[in-house]
């Protein structure tokens, strides 16, 4: 049996926010998320962790850093400290795909770390990739994620969540 276990697959259309809860547990410390989406306009995908009551953790405790890889202009840095969400998961009218690793989201004793790689394609023939990192500087036990954007909607959003099993 594979040690990469599919926990959940969720697909939504015409939403600006999607919460997927009860996907993190004591069974895993590391999770892989694959995200695919189309959008109604170019925008910024944002991500928060969600506690067991279903509320997004929105305190200013997120740090992230993303190398923005643009095919038609210079690469650039997108970073923030003490922010209210993870960013760097770009989305675009012609699609965006990302693989995210989350470490320790369910832990009540460790901060949650994030790795991500993404690739989007803007409608004007403008590919943009991202390689990024993040940390949520809280030891709240998170059980889910909230993916959202401001000012427009995802026309299509698919998220698969896998747990990376360690057998002792």
């Amino acid at each position: 049996m594979s040690n990469l276990r599919l926990i959940n697959e969720t697909t939504a259309t015409s939403v600006s926010s999607l919460t997927i809860n009860n996907i993190f547990s004591s069974d895993f410390d590391i999770y892989q998320l694959t995200i695919g989406n189309d959008n109604t306009t170019n925008n910024v995908m944002k991500m928060r962790l969600v506690n067991s009551s279903g509320s997004a953790i929105s305190s200013s405790s997120y740090d992230y850093a993303n190398l923005q890889l643009d095919a038609t202009t210079s690469f650039s840095e997108d970073k923030n400290q003490n922010f209210t969400e993870f960013r760097g998961l770009y989305e675009a009218l012609e699609g965006n795909y990302a693989t995210v690793y989350l470490f320790n989201p369910y832990s009540s004793s460790s901060y949650s770390f994030m790795l991500q790689q993404s690739q989007s394609f803007y409608t004007t023939g403008y590919p943009r990739g991202g390689k990024g990192i993040g940390v949520l500087k809280k030891t709240d036990s998170a059980t889910g994620i909230n993916i959202f954007q401001t000012g427009s909607a995802f026309s299509y959003l698919n998220i698969r969540t896998y747990g990376l099993r360690v057998d002792s």
Binding site: D29, A65, L67, F103, S110, F113, K131, L164
Partner: protein
């Protein structure tokens, strides 16, 4: 069935050790290493890595590497080296929240006629609590079979962490 990760080896550190070695690479598949919550005993020391030949870390000066250092607090940097005797990641702290997490892929390790290749992505917090990470790769420029990977701190011990080697099939 494609798309599986099969666990090959794992080690969880709960008290200080000088190093961790994961072996068991014996096929031409790609392998992946997950490092979770690695902490060192001394503030400001870098996680360092070598590949193993028959279970023994290769200390020869045949490692080439380059990575982008992502930082949340200031301008990103570049890390690189050629003909060095190890692969180095960022320096980390030794407080509870200053650990490093990583996903590392290993290529061609089983080949006796090709170099061994590595790609890696890491996220960590340094001794000041600043978020950093490495996105990059490395090559061990020796055409001989490698069977694993060896982790140690530039100075001091590894005090905690879970290290797991998977085969990608």
């Amino acid at each position: 069935m494609a798309g599986q990760l099969i666990q090959v080896a794992t080690e969880t550190v709960t008290s200080a050790v000088a190093s961790v070695t994961l072996t068991g690479i014996d096929s031409d598949d790609v392998y992946m290493v997950a490092v979770n919550n690695l902490l060192g005993s001394i503030d400001g020391q870098a996680l360092s890595t070598r590949i193993t030949k028959s279970g023994t870390p290769d200390t020869t000066s045949n490692y080439d590497n380059a990575s982008k250092q992502l930082r949340a607090d200031t301008t990103f940097g570049n890390l690189s080296g050629t003909n060095v005797d190890f692969l180095s990641f960022n320096t980390i702290g030794n407080a509870d929240s200053e650990m490093i997490n990583a996903i590392i892929y290993l290529y061609n390790f089983n080949s006796s006629s090709e170099y061994s290749f590595v790609t890696f992505e890491t996220a960590d917090r340094n001794y000041l609590g600043h978020l950093r990470g490495n996105q990059g790769g490395a090559v061990h420029t020796v055409a001989s079979a490698s069977d694993g990977i060896h982790f140690y701190m530039a100075s001091g011990n590894i005090t905690s962490g879970t290290f797991t080697l998977y085969r990608c099939v």
